[in-house]
Amino acid sequence: MSDLPERLEVHNADIGYGDKIVLHDLTFSVPHGTRVAVVGPNGAGKSTLFKALVGLLPLRSGRIFVHGLPLGNHKDCVAYVPQREEVDWRFPVTVRDVVMMGRYDHQGWFGPASRQDKQVVDRSLAQMAIAHLAQQAIRDLSGGEQQRVFLARALAQDPHILLMDEPFTGVDVPTQESTLGLLDDLRAEDVTAMIATHDLGIAVEKFDLMLLLNHRLIAFGPPAEVMKQDNVLEAFGSRLTVLADGSMIVDEH
C-alpha cells in the first residue's frame, strides 16, 4: 500500500464563490484510511472545502489530487453525506430509493439495478439498522433515521473517501454512536474519512488527524498537536475561554 500516492492531496488551493475567496492557499495531504476531523469556527470554510472536494466549486487556483490524479478523473470514489438541512425531505422517495441512488454510478444511468446492486443496498440498509424502514418515505423518518439513510447511501457508494458535514449535530446519541461505529468499519476497509464537526471533544477523542481552519489552514496533524492553545486561539479568537486547569471551551454562539 505504501508505494501508492497519498489518497488525497490539496496543493495551494484558493476556493470561493464568484470573486469572494473563502479559503486561501490550502495545502495538506491525507494518507489512506485515516480519519480527519475538520474543525474551525462558523463560516471558517469547512463546507466550502467539502464542496470543492466533491467538485461542486471550481478552484480559483491550486490543485486537488485523488490517488495522484487530478480531481474528476475518478468518478465514484468520493461520497458525501450532507448536513440534514441541505436535503429536501418532502421529496417523494423511499429510504430504499435514496440508498439505491448510491449505486447509480456502478449500474449505469440507463439500465435497471443488477442483483449485485440490490444486495449492496440490502447490506447497507442492514448495516445502518434501517432495513425495516426500507419502504418508508424519507419525510416520515426521525432525524436520526434520516441521517442513517444517507450514511447507508454513502456505504452503498463503496467510496475511497467519505466526506460528512456535521454528522454529530442535532442527532440522538444512538445515531452518533452508529456514525462512529460506521467510521470504525470504514477504517477497517481503508476508507479515508473527513468529517466537519463542532464537537471538539469527539474530534480529539475519536480522530487520527485534525484540520483546523479559519479561512486558511491554521494547523493540521494529530489532535494533541493541533489543539495547542495558540492554534485554537488563532482559529476561534475571543470565542475561546481557557480554564484554570488548562482545558479550553469554545463559545460558538
Binding site: 464568484g18 464542496k51 466533491v54 467538485g55 461542486l56 474528476g72 468518478k75 465514484d76 468520493v78 461520497a79 458525501y80 450532507p82 441541505e86 436535503v87 429536501d88 421529496f91 417523494p92 422517495v93 423511499t94 430509493d97 435514496v98 441512488m101 447509480y104 454510478d105 444511468w109 440507463f110 418515505a137 419525510r139 416520515d140
Partner: protein, 279 residues
C-alpha cells in the same frame, strides 16, 4: 351510453380528444418535476413568453406551433444562461423576460386586424380547431419528450433531489438542467393548442400536485399524475361539449376538482392518523 359516443362522431372532436389526452399526460409528467423543483413560476412564464413567437408566425402566415416552438427554445436557453451567471436571481430573470415577451406578443398581435378572436384562441386554447397536421406535430413532440424523460429518469431524479450527489458522480448537471428547460418548453408549446398560454401552467402543476398528495414515490407520482391529466382532459372535453363552455377552462376546472378531492381525502386521512395516535 350514447351521450358518451355522440361527440366522437365528429372528426374534429376525436382529434380534440386525442390532442388533449396527449397534452394531459405530457403536462402531468413534466409537471412532476415542475412541482418538485419549484418551477411553477417558470412554467407559467414560459407559457406567456412564447406569445411573440406565435404572433410572428401568424404575421408571416407560418405554422403557429412552429413559431411557438422557436420562441420557447429561445426563452429556455436564455433563462438557463441568465440564471447560471448568478448576477441576478433566477426568478427575477424570469420575471423580466416573461413580462417583456408577453408585452411584445400582445403588441404584435394588437397591431393585426382581427386580433380579438385569435388572441382568445392563443390565450385559452382552441382544441376544437386541431388540424390533422397539428395532431401529428403534437404526437411527435409528445413522444419525444416522454421518451427523453423515461431515458433520463435516474439523472433527472438525482439532479432534482440531490445536486451534490450529482456533482460527486460527475453528472453534467448544467446540461441536464438546460435539457429539462427545453423539455418544459416543448410541453408548454404542445399544450398551447388545448388549454392556451393562460392555462398551461395549471395543467403542469395541478395533476402533479394532486398525485403528490396521493403517493410518496416519484414513479407512482408520475403515473398517477399522467392518469389524472388524461382523465381531466377527457372529462373536461365532455363538460365543454354538453355545457358549452370553453374547453381549456373545463379541463383545468376538472383537474382542480380532482385536486380538491385528493386534498380533502388527504386531510381526512391526516385526521384519522392523528386520532389513532392519541388513542
Amino acid at each position: 351510453m350514447s351521450w358518451l359516443l355522440e361527440p366522437l362522431q365528429y372528426a374534429f372532436m376525436t382529434r380534440a380528444f386525442a390532442a388533449s389526452v396527449i397534452v394531459g399526460v405530457l403536462c402531468a409528467v413534466m409537471g412532476t418535476y415542475v412541482v418538485l423543483r419549484g418551477m411553477a413560476f417558470l412554467g407559467d412564464a414560459m407559457a406567456h413568453a412564447i406569445l411573440p413567437g406565435v404572433a410572428i408566425a401568424y404575421l408571416l402566415q407560418g405554422n403557429l406551433l412552429i413559431g411557438a416552438l422557436v420562441a420557447a427554445l429561445v426563452i429556455a436557453v436564455t433563462i438557463g444562461l441568465l440564471s447560471r451567471q448568478g448576477t441576478i436571481k433566477e426568478d427575477t430573470a424570469i420575471g423580466i423576460l416573461f413580462a417583456a415577451a408577453l408585452s411584445l406578443g400582445v403588441a404584435l398581435i394588437s397591431s393585426m386586424k382581427s386580433y380579438a378572436v385569435d388572441l382568445g384562441h392563443i390565450l385559452f386554447g382552441d382544441v376544437l380547431g386541431v388540424s390533422p397536421a397539428d395532431l401529428w406535430l403534437t404526437t411527435g413532440l409528445g413522444l419525444a419528450v416522454l421518451v427523453t424523460v423515461v431515458l433520463l429518469y435516474k439523472p433527472f431524479l438525482v439532479i432534482s433531489f440531490d445536486p451534490v450527489l450529482a456533482a460527486t458522480m460527475r453528472l453534467p448537471a448544467d446540461l441536464l438542467r438546460m435539457l429539462m428547460l427545453i423539455l418544459l418548453a416543448l410541453t408548454v408549446v404542445v399544450s398551447l393548442q388545448t388549454v392556451g398560454v393562460g392555462l398551461a401552467a395549471a395543467m403542469l402543476v395541478t395533476p402533479a400536485a394532486t398525485a403528490y398528495l396521493l403517493t410518496r414515490r416519484l414513479l407512482p407520482m408520475m403515473l398517477i399524475a399522467a392518469l389524472l391529466g388524461a382523465l381531466s382532459s377527457v372529462v373536461g372535453l365532455y363538460v365543454s361539449y354538453y355545457a358549452n363552455v370553453v374547453s381549456g377552462a373545463a379541463i383545468v376546472l376538472t383537474a382542480t376538482a380532482f385536486f380538491l378531492l385528493a386534498w380533502l381525502f388527504n386531510a381526512r386521512k391526516g385526521v384519522l392518523r392523528r386520532r389513532s395516535q392519541t388513542e
